[in-house]
């Protein structure tokens, strides 16, 4: 006879299964339906490799596949949670300088041609500026600077050979910015009629109007995608977009488009909606022209760093929901952010703003500035709200240290040319990071020859440390190295980080399976696991 405990256990299990089955059946994915996602602006081109904004990734990621992807079941994009896509398995050489992928067979491009290792080689050669197919713009050339050669071994195996062991290469290949392109389609065609292997085929892109994708019936993942298609009406006015979401005209807002104040409004009018507010891995930062007076003087640069009240930026812009940190996204969302104990030892990061400003004023007074002799200068920024708002706050903070800043609004078309010409004293800038990895951030934004190193900051010994940390496989040791590099970058005022931004995404409860990441905004738009419960 069964003991009372085992009887109780059996009864519990019976009860649980009686309840669990209906629940499981309720969650069984349904096929069909068109997902409508707001697109916030005109992406210009459908080519992800030529874009550097989520405005290109979000609408077109469904057209493509990568070799590997971050597992979307996690709330974070993690190096230890990378899953196969076009690659079925991968392995590192003993010295860590070669990464070999076994590729999935039977995969077809949307035009019916087979996917092979030659396509992987073409894609990498194109990203490195080699080969016949050339990108018009190549924003992530720096990501692959360490890949020296791409070697194919038959149709379903490819190896990337590197100059030094770089574990993070796998993470870069997992990014939404790293789709595979077909050899047989030119880079120019990919801008207007993209061909991928992804769950959705490109249907049409009416500039400034709508983007449409349709289900790929030959998708290599059985039973996927669930959706019949995706429609992305381009709604540029945020108010209209939020109203369209509330009225049910779109199922989902554009990722990160919902700011903290608007989130409350949306929830009050559409209380059933599901909203996620989280870091975007985009930082508000300063760019300082250290080649031009007055900020060729390190004391004045330090004074400017000391006067910034980062908490005030966070409170005003993000209702306190942003995060304060250095170049790497801070914990808990970011993997590599330095601890507060280290951060607060860096000039300007300590919590005592009054003390910091007193020190700043002393530095200014040392160079002859004071209440009766103030420094006038322009603070340049792009003519977009997310740039203008923090620029205005910065000017207010600079006033505390005898600096009278005048806002200089620069049209988007002229912004990077102006920065490249060093035609500015101080600028308020935003920098987005494709993945939460030091290699991506350091090599892209701070390496001497990187095209995205907009300030031209160059520290060769520090750059050698970039390489060293890149090769480190012990994550804890690597973290220590990353924190040291990051600390140095902040002390050097290479690009002082003010605050890490947040953004929200809302979707109706009929949308099941969308899981935004908390440490990157570029990687979760394949939509092959998303379904509509209606």
């Amino acid at each position: 006879m069964l003991s009372p405990t085992r009887l109780l256990l059996a009864a519990t299990m019976l009860f649980a299964s009686a309840v669990a089955v209906p629940i499981a059946q309720a969650q069984e994915p349904k096929s069909g339906g068109i997902l409508r996602v707001q697109q916030r602006d005109n992406p210009g081109s459908a080519s992800i490799h030529e874009g550097a904004t989520v405005s290109v990734n979000a609408p077109f990621m469904g057209v493509y596949n990568n070799l590997v992807m971050f597992d979307t079941k996690n709330d974070r994009d993690r190096m230890d949670a990378i899953v196969p896509e076009l690659a079925t398995e991968w392995s590192w050489s003993a010295d860590g300088k070669a990464l070999t992928f076994k590729l999935r067979s039977g995969v077809k491009w949307h035009d019916g041609k087979p996917f092979t290792s030659a396509d992987v080689k073409c894609t990498m050669d194109m990203l490195k500026g080699q080969g016949e197919n050339k990108l018009r713009i190549n924003p992530r050339r720096a990501w692959y600077s360490n890949v020296q050669e791409t070697v194919t071994n038959g149709d379903f195996e490819v190896t990337f050979k590197m100059g030094w062991a770089q574990p993070s290469l796998l993470g870069m290949l997992a990014s939404g910015y790293s789709p595979m392109y077909p050899c047989h389609v030119s880079a120019a065609s990919m801008r207007t009629k993209p061909i991928g292997t992804g769950p959705f085929r490109f249907v049409e892109f009416k500039q400034n109007e709508i983007i449409r994708l349709a289900r790929n019936p030959d998708y290599w993942k059985p039973g996927r995608p669930y959706l019949d298609g995706i429609e992305m009406p381009i709604i540029t006015t945020r108010a209209t977009a939020m109203l369209a979401f509330i009225a049910g005209r779109v199922d989902m807002t554009f990722p990160t488009e919902v700011s903290p104040p608007i989130l409350a409004d949306v929830k009050s009018q559409a209380p059933e909606s599901i909203c996620h507010m989280g870091p975007t891995n985009v930082s508000v930062n300063l760019i300082i022209n250290r080649d031009k007076a007055p900020f060729d003087n390190p004391d004045l640069r330090r004074a400017m760093a000391l006067t910034i009240d980062r908490k005030a930026f966070n409170d005003i812009l993000y209702n306190g929901t942003g995060s304060l940190g250095a170049a790497m996204l801070p914990a808990p969302e970011g993997v590599w952010g330095m601890p507060q104990s280290i951060l607060q030892t860096i000039a300007g990061y300590g919590p005592d703003v009054a003390k910091n400003r007193a020190e700043a004023r002393a530095l200014m007074e040392k160079h002859g500035y004071g209440p009766n002799k103030r420094l006038s200068m322009k603070v340049a920024t792009r003519n977009i709200q997310v740039y203008r708002d923090p620029a205005v706050i910065l000017i207010d903070h600079l006033r505390e240290i005898y600096v009278d800043g005048e806002l200089e609004i620069v049209e988007t078309a002229a912004w990077h040319s102006k920065i490249a010409r060093k035609d500015y004293a101080v600028g308020l800038n935003l920098t987005g990071n494709g993945i939460d990895d030091p290699d991506q951030n350091f090599f892209e934004n701070y390496a001497c020859n990187s095209e995205r190193n907009v300030t031209g900051y160059c520290n060769k010994p520090l750059e050698e440390m970039f390489v060293k940390q890149s090769q480190e496989t012990d994550i804890e040791k690597r973290k220590q190295m990353v924190w040291e590099i990051d600390r140095q970058l902040q002390e050097d005022l290479a690009r002082p980080i003010i605050v890490h931004t947040v953004g929200g995404t809302c979707w109706h409860p009929t949308v099941i399976g969308f899981n935004p990441a908390v440490n990157a905004i570029y990687n979760r738009y394949r939509y092959d696991d998303v379904w509509l419960n209606r």
Binding site: I137, R249, T412, H416, S417
Partner: protein
């Protein structure tokens, strides 16, 4: 002695003079738009690199060469204007599609919006202006004048958003554009709401103009004569007075019609209508020279032709006007 062939010859001469003037106007506009675009800092290549967050001088030079924007300005102008007259408008820098195709895509929805807006303007503005004039200084007159003032004062952006919010709150739907309406009536409804928003403002202007023109005409001697001869009130107001009062109104309607083709940027943005105005503004932002130049020229042609048509209509409305003199 009336010699009809002489009258026709004079009309022909007027038309030739007028055509020459129109061509000169269009030439001037082409130069202005071409120069203004080049004066404004930055070009499409700068925009492309900006979205990439980088600058590469070698790539920049290559792309500028490919697009032909490194050529001397007079050569660029000549290439463009000769293409315009031969129907070869080139390719959009942004979408890389034919300019003709891109513009043609936007014209139908803009035309529909403009026609509906004009309908509201005339249907509301003229009758209300007449009523306000013939009931001068009554409660109806005061009410209509306040309403018309509000139509002119309320910012269009604010009004449009208020309309959207009202629809969402009261009806749970949002009347913004879709390219796949369920039926023709759906399409009309979706365009009727923004057209009414635009029409409200335009009709206010037309209403006030009609009222003022009517009041002036109603004071004329021939109106008093008509009344003295026993003409009915309706005959006096509509057959005698309104026809003459309409002259300035026709001028304004002509200007409004031209404005509706390329000026509804606020309405198109808020109601998310992919019309000509919004397309033009986006093209300016992207420095998409082929789109901006050709679209502005097309709008200029429409404005010039509409104004010509309005001038010709004067002769029909007012027999005293002869273009043969």
């Amino acid at each position: 002695m009336f010699l009809p062939w002489k009258s026709e010859a004079r009309l022909g001469a007027y038309l030739v003079r007028r055509s020459a003037l129109m061509l000169l106007t269009l030439f001037g506009i082409s130069v202005i738009i071409f120069v203004l675009l080049r004066i404004v800092p930055g070009n499409i290549v700068d925009i492309l690199f900006d979205t990439a967050g980088m600058i590469d001088p070698a790539d920049k030079a290559r792309i500028e060469r490919d697009l032909g924007i490194d050529l001397p300005l007079p050569q660029q102008y000549f290439v463009w204007i000769s293409g315009f007259f031969s129907g070869n408008l080139g390719y959009s820098y942004v979408s890389e599609k034919l300019v003709v195709a891109e513009i043609a895509l936007r014209i139908p929805v803009t035309l529909k919006l403009a026609i509906l807006a004009l309908f509201f303007t005339v249907a509301l503005g003229v009758p209300l202006g007449v009523i306000s004039a013939v009931r001068q200084d009554t409660a109806i007159d005061y009410t209509l004048r306040v309403v018309s003032l509000s139509g002119l004062s309320l910012p269009s952006f604010w009004l449009a958003l208020l309309i959207l919010m009202a629809f969402v709150s009261w009806f749970g739907m949002i009347p913004i554009y879709t390219d796949t309406p369920d039926s023709i009536w759906d399409e009309i409804l979706l365009l009727a709401v923004p057209a009414a928003a635009v029409g409200f403002r335009s009709s206010s202007l037309v209403m006030r103009l009609t009222r003022s023109a009517m009041l002036e005409v109603l004071r004329q001697d021939y109106i008093r004569t008509a009344r003295a001869k026993g003409a009915t009130r309706n005959s006096v107001n509509y057959r005698h007075a309104l026809r003459n009062a309409l002259l300035p109104v026709v001028t304004v309607l002509g200007i409004e019609a031209a404005f509706l083709i390329g000026g509804l940027i606020v309405t198109e943005t808020v109601f998310n209508i992919p019309g000509v105005a919004r397309f033009l503004v986006e093209a300016i932002r992207s420095r998409d020279y082929p789109i901006v130049q050709n679209l502005v020229m097309m709008i200029a042609v429409v404005v010039v032709l509409v104004n010509f048509a309005v001038d010709m209509l004067y002769a029909t409305l007012d027999p005293r006007i002869k273009y043969t003199d």
